[in-house]
Symmetry: C2
Subunit: 451 residues, 2 copies
Amino acid sequence: MAQSIPAVKGTRDFYPEDHAPLQWILDAWRRVSLRHGFDEFDGPTLEHTELYTRKSGDEIVEQLFTLTDRGGRSLAMRPEMTPTLARMVAARQGSLPRPIKWFCMPRMYRGERPQRGRLREFHQWNVDILGVSGVLADAECILVAVEGLRELGLTADDFAIHISDRRLVAEILTAIGVELERHAIAYGILDKASKMPIEELSRRWGEAFPGILAFDKLWAALSAADVGELSGRLREVAPQLGGLTGAAGLTALMGALTSLNIIEYCKLDLQVVRGLAYYTGVVFEAYDRRRALRAICGGGRYDDLLAMVGGKPLTGVGFGMGDVVLFELLSDLKRVPALAASGGVFVVDIVGGGTGGAAADESLPSNELLRIVAALRRAGYRTEFSYQRQAVGKQMAKASEKKAGHVVFVSDKSREQGSVELKDMAAGTQRDVAMADLIARPAEFLGAPKC
Amino acid sequence: MAQSIPAVKGTRDFYPEDHAPLQWILDAWRRVSLRHGFDEFDGPTLEHTELYTRKSGDEIVEQLFTLTDRGGRSLAMRPEMTPTLARMVAARQGSLPRPIKWFCMPRMYRGERPQRGRLREFHQWNVDILGVSGVLADAECILVAVEGLRELGLTADDFAIHISDRRLVAEILTAIGVELERHAIAYGILDKASKMPIEELSRRWGEAFPGILAFDKLWAALSAADVGELSGRLREVAPQLGGLTGAAGLTALMGALTSLNIIEYCKLDLQVVRGLAYYTGVVFEAYDRRRALRAICGGGRYDDLLAMVGGKPLTGVGFGMGDVVLFELLSDLKRVPALAASGGVFVVDIVGGGTGGAAADESLPSNELLRIVAALRRAGYRTEFSYQRQAVGKQMAKASEKKAGHVVFVSDKSREQGSVELKDMAAGTQRDVAMADLIARPAEFLGAPKC
């Protein structure tokens, strides 16, 4: 026997029982996106590596899966969607109707060490609005994220969207003495806070910003539950800080989220800054309420990104939600429903008493069976049968295993009188139906088709 | 302005107007697969390179996109699905219920020179049955391919499934003197026939098999329309050939295809052999009737593959259908329908006369509008509105552009009396509806929701 080849570590095999919940998630994401007026798009898996090295930030770039094509070009498997989105919009910037409201659900690739909530290959829902600078576009993206999670059965007790604003955090950083061109470094350290011990963060912060406010004091101030509390705490640690003008955007956003009836899902959290380098305004992440897992989704405003990839300036806001942490949360909370196909038709062959018989090749089902099967499928019914001549009991066992809603019995009578027996499995009733009628008007006997 | 970064050659950007037909194709493939009793699965994009080098055949291996991960392992982006399928089945061979009827619609990657019908990244529908050795599983796969193409509006005038059998071709090759261990080389040359001039093929054939029947004579014999004609032609060029026992399988298959009512879509074509090394029986390809394009799909029986990837022996049959040639055919025949979203709800804001007004922030739509929008979306209606306060005419123009089925007018009356005007765009009628009723029972006013 040949040696077996395992799956690559950090990737997943989706057997049918694993694929059904994935598809359930993808379908919910798509439904919710469409309802909110977003159009689906997609891009290539492979992009020129430079698209990411230019803007995504160090962590993403370190994790790129890169390869060299026959022409010697460096290509990368996409680790995130926003650069592709920006590239595509920039390429047709003059002709796209505004606002641009697009979503997609592509696979992403990151060469990181596989661990809980982190795989090297995953699906990510992306929702973006370009060309709208107002707070309403920020609110709309947060609304879609909330509704996407609600659609999967999650409630305000299960998750919250943690909302911050880079403009406000930048104002604070500047006030405590971090130079503007070094803000990205500060964001990088702050973004690691939930993933690292505070001692390590303090060490990194002290190295990067010696003589500036200590990390633990800044971190404590940022844990304020609202802007008023934040101001008070900051004045204690950084008396030089004036009024927080950067808070106005957050106040307006919270107002819009209240009008949209989702404020119970949202909370201010200035400890959220996001790792990616290109955010310029509101940033947000969804977390489970118990904070047992990594972020469920993350996003924010990136008003400078288009210009960075060669387009004209165009504002943008959006989020990405992966399937890995989300599925962990749904599993932990036992919210993944039973998803096996059911309610189809199973056609049982009892021609010649069900033990073999009248077909040209006796090992094959009868022609009548094949005709009915092909016709019902063409009419939209999930229709199955046994590939082999088998005893009726075995065929019925298969019908039960497949959770058939109806069973059609094809017998000698079908050949002789053109009729079949039709059994409704839920009702337990059985009746004689003309084969021609079943083929011509299946909905009359089987209800509306499901696929 | 930063320099723009182009898309990678041979990949595609799916703008919303490009994604809609792709999704239309993917939805049809999924629907048809489910109807025929197949369960969806998927695997990783990245596999250990050895999974392909062991069995896929030279052409595929030459075109692999490979990369080295941090652990120094050689990984490849999947160029075809069958090896992953075989690996997954082999890993759980004991516990999977039989027959295994699985489908998937993954992206595939091949580092070839981009040309008409060939891209470096494409979608491929895969449909496979494992554990059934009878002719009925071959027929079932061909049925699914036919119904998948029919579901997209293609008819028997547009395409045909060309069917052959490696066992029959092998019998012929052996009879004319090609040693068994060199059959794969012969298949490789035969598979190139539609892509290369006959002179080049003759040269390759003569080099590989000197002194054996000339290529053009073999090729002409294989163009026979049925097994009888084939026997006659072969006896002329290779008198040593006996009766073609390998033809029995094809005869049985054609019988099953007749019972399944799709024989008009099928034809015998022994010039089809398929390039992949692992086929062992029936092989088939779909072509447009005009033969203007490359194969639309290809598949066949691979009874030895499981053992080759480390499993226990298990029979299998399946096909792959890409989206690239299929979309070219559908476009050429003008069968791609108009697919833009329509029939949603557009909510127009005329609070304060529609020019600004009563919201907390005057640049934002009114709270009433936001409440209605959020409620209708949650009820399943594609609901849109203008992000900015705008004149009514501009908002209505947007509603038309979005092909809204209903327009809801939110006005001062909504705030004062709690009612909105609802316009049915198709009927042109307009009526007063209580806001609370619209939110509580939208289907009564808007019909059933679509997403």
